[in-house]
Symmetry: C2
Subunit: 264 residues, 2 copies
């Protein structure tokens, strides 16, 4: 079993676990949010621990870069074989939200580039997978980006992140938010990027993501025919110092960079 | 059968129809967006025509105010018995979007106030209903707003509307977008407002809605314990000249008005 098969197998199992916890959330929704947050932390940590254990067993020499529990430092050798884990991306939506806009992200990278990646969206029963050069798939079916080429009728996911990034978001994406056809915001990088891969959205922007947030979904977008770069168009090395991420259907990419360069 | 029973019966039938059309969308998703838009127009019009026909039969003397087909003028007597229809709110999401963030809205108003209202969310199999003084329900279960009282940890749905409203949205809600805990945007008034009624969101803001967009969901929010006013806190008469709408869990309402008054 190669890395992609490993990713599929791990995400299939984790999705079942997370779906059952999400169903419990519905039982807990009348209770205080405090309890819901405790539940979430518990799920986050349990998922990460299980994935880390499986990687250690299957690939004992590989580096791991993950959101929780002191594993959030990038690998010392930034080109080494590295696994990137986000146990629940879109955590707030797990606890609150009419739609299950959260996912489990697992990527395998070499030389700072994702070469295999998967995103499970347990609330929808969906599994997105991609391997470098092999195309992108949702539940086994090939997916492709849109061909839409006009900013004025395009749909962009603007990730508003936490309050700490908001002034920067309004400054950098103000012009874009005025010119783009539609704005959506689910605040989950995996949802924003996978929506581009399926052709449901045309662009995604964020001012400050961590590599484990987007490594898998970035490859899924690219293998669906899209493009993911820094906000100025620079290529991404997962462990460079960059923070901003721009994903698109590729056709719109140059236009989006130009509009973003104009700021507010 | 009173007005609420009529609303329930109409929305149950319309939801089945719309769900079947939405499933067809998935079949059409590889085709051009042009075809998808044609499908949508067809669904919008068919739903409105059917609802109008049923109202004419059951309540021949009542006024009707609806989104499509030349029915978008408010009633001449603004306090008369009036039905407000939005056949598909969140039209763009019907055609594109990972989540079925669209709904059918039907409200009955007297004296410019909704007294019975329903929202069907066919993609989730959900029906929201409320009657003045009788509480709000989702699929028969009572729903309630959140009790969250701090802007910094609240979730707000900011409706970005079409490009024509964007400069105004950034100017009026800029400060709010910086201070609020979480920002989400589904661009469907019924989704934003019903999310408050279930306790999944704490606030919803829009600069320019039509009464048929929010009449039903407004009552659902109020009957779930929340509050819906103009952006400065003024009460809403559905056929006044106001455009802005602020919905909240009630606890946050005064705070939200204050933050919004500061603009950008």
């Amino acid at each position: 079993m190669g890395e992609l098969g490993f990713i599929r197998s791990v995400l299939d199992d984790m999705a079942i676990f997370v779906r059952s916890k999400y169903a419990m959330r519905d039982g807990l929704r009348i209770e205080t949010k405090r309890e819901a947050n405790d539940l979430l932390t518990e799920v986050d940590l349990a998922v990460q621990e299980e994935i880390v254990a499986r990687i250690r067993k299957a690939y004992p020499d590989d580096a791991i870069f993950a959101e929780e529990a002191g594993m959030s430092g990038p690998p010392t050798n930034r080109d080494a074989r590295t696994w990137l884990i986000d146990p629940i991306d879109g955590t707030q939506n797990f606890v609150r939200g009419l739609f299950p806009a959260f996912g489990i992200s697992l990527a395998f990278a070499v030389g700072g580039r994702p070469v295999a990646g998967g995103v499970a969206v347990p609330g929808k029963g969906e599994l997105y997978l991609a391997e470098q050069g092999g195309g992108a798939f949702r539940n086994g079916e090939r997916i492709r980006v849109s061909e839409l080429d006009a900013i004025g009728s395009a749909r962009a996911e603007v990730d508003f992140s936490g309050p700490w990034d908001r002034e920067e978001i309004l400054e950098r994406f103000g012009r874009l938010m005025v010119e783009i056809g539609q704005v959506r915001c689910h605040c989950a990088a995996v949802i924003g990027l996978c929506s581009i891969a399926t052709g449901d959205m045309d662009a995604y922007v964020h001012v400050a993501l961590n590599a484990y947030d987007y490594a898998a979904a970035m490859l899924i977008v690219e293998e669906a025919g899209g493009k993911v770069t820094r906000l100025n168009g620079d290529p991404i090395h997962l462990f460079d110092d960059g923070r901003g991420v721009l994903g698109s259907n590729s056709v719109l990419h140059a236009n989006l960079i130009e509009v973003i360069s104009r700021g507010r």
